[in-house]
Subunit: 315 residues, 2 copies
């Protein structure tokens, strides 16, 4: 057991959370991460309420350990998705992309633990004030939807740690145990990794998308669509078009038209490497293989221990 406020809070072995990701983290991945001693999350962002229900039920056939659900609050049916979590007695709910105040009393009343994803200090303070049990402090390097303030994990995490007394889970750019040690040095109590778990055997993403993550180098991602909601994705034909439109001062409507529909599904689930939106973090440049989720967890812990020991020994 790895002692931290996050392992204590969730009653898990390692303070490693697998981020909820659209088209990636169904029951299979979430259960695999929880079985390996971390905390898996079913990503409800690409699910209708009925599918979320069956995924939670499926997850319980795969592991007896706790797993959670991530609900993006910008979804029109966020309230319904949260009701499914309550009905299914999901012990831990992560909320993101919105303000948890509207829903928190209902969740706390149902004895769920609530963790909110924040991208600046004000959001962290608000999450604490309304009663969240912990926050995820997610930096600019993260894949998928991103905050508008562009604070990086290295600067955001210590600022959030200084601002709130509740446990802080660091996210954004984290794929290995050196980085886990780094954010613990900043005062984090746990890590959340997305892209690293997207490229695992149990991820429900298309193989072509997983392969694109493995092939991406250091400069393989870009943050674009800033005028809609900033999204970090792998560079491809679609990303180039979005960046060009942005440089030419495209407005919201023009970007919405360019985005069209089901772009994430096309990229991540159907594997269209050029026309799809391949959400991924800068950590893609550190990911070199597609492995079982349990290997990711084990590697991260052993790399953490090695990095932590090196800090105090002769360098």
């Amino acid at each position: 057991m790895f002692p931290s406020r996050i392992t204590a809070l969730f009653n898990i072995h390692y303070p490693i959370v697998q981020g909820g990701m659209v088209w990636v983290s169904g029951a299979k991945l979430a259960a695999a991460v929880s079985e390996a001693g971390g905390l898996g999350l079913i990503g409800a962002g690409s699910m209708k309420p009925e599918l979320l229900r069956t995924q939670i039920e499926k997850g319980r056939t795969l592991t007896t350990k706790p797993f959670g659900v991530n609900v993006p609050l910008l979804r029109g049916d966020a309230a319904e998705l949260l009701e499914v979590c309550i009905e299914q007695k999901v012990p831990i709910v992560f909320t993101s992309a919105g303000h948890p105040g509207k829903f928190i009393d209902r969740l706390l009343g149902a004895n769920a633990m609530v963790v909110h994803v924040v991208a600046n200090v004000k959001q962290a303070r608000k999450a604490h004030e309304v009663g969240c049990h912990a926050v995820v402090a997610e930096g600019f390097e993260a894949g998928g939807h991103n905050g508008v303030d562009e604070l990086t994990t290295l600067t955001l995490v210590p600022m959030v740690v200084d601002a709130v007394p509740i446990p802080v889970i660091a996210a954004g750019g984290i794929a290995d145990g050196r980085q886990m040690a780094a954010v613990f040095a900043l005062g984090a109590d746990g890590v959340q990794a997305g892209t690293r778990f997207a490229a695992t055997v149990e991820s429900s993403a298309h193989e072509a998308y997983k392969q694109a993550i493995v092939e991406a180098g250091d400069t393989g991602t870009t943050l674009t669509l800033r005028r809609l909601a900033p999204v970090r994705m792998l560079k491809n034909l679609f990303a180039s078009r979005a960046m060009d439109a942005e440089r030419q001062g495209a407005n919201r409507e023009q970007l919405l038209q360019l985005l069209g529909e089901k772009r994430e599904r096309a990229g991540i689930f159907e594997g269209d490497r050029e026309e799809g939106e391949l959400e991924a973090g800068q950590s893609a440049g550190l990911i070199r293989d597609i492995v079982p989720a349990a290997i990711v967890v084990q590697r991260m812990i052993s790399e953490y221990e090695a990095a932590a020991k090196k800090l105090l020994s002769p360098r």
Copy 2:
């Protein structure tokens, strides 16, 4: 003595480099940092060759310890500035904003140690190939001129560490010893801090600029002027105009006109908080006081030790 490849390379006590900054780091600041056991750098970016010469001479009256000079290679007179360094037998030259290949043989032939600032893996490999002794891996959160790839310190540093065998100095967003421990966990051999040293007693910047750094919160900076050369600065009236122009798709010429002349000098040296360009990193949100440079060095080391110890003890 803090054992690291950087303290060994430069023969200094602590692996803390004070970044060269326009209008901030003259002889006084560089000497104060070197006296405190780190490595001070005179920032030649805002100096003509004659001024650089007198600043180097002045520095030698203030300390007998080694200090270096930072030369931005985009300067039209970069070759002249480097000749001043050679004439003055400056032991350590940091080059940035350009490719060191054109100048490196001349510098190495004069027995200078050369360190180049990089923002991606390709630049790091090139710096190593041409013979640099070390690299500074500088992330997106850094103040002032910034790479176009937007890699953050947390992702850039481990990628550069994996790519080159020479020592890596981490830079971008670093103001305290927790962050120093964090980047050492990533494999860095030293840190370079800019903004933190800009807000010191010995910094030659205007008091109003130092105060603006202290007052800045987590979301106090922005990266703008991406179409000229991306610059991170404190948000103010000028920054707002630059961001607005960018959103409206302003071209290079329009941005150049908006920028005008002597904008950095007006902000940093003359203290114009609204019309000046107040270059600063995201670390501004962690800086709460103006102290002597020696205090910055001492704090950073004691915070490092505390953070490193915590990583291995019960959390």
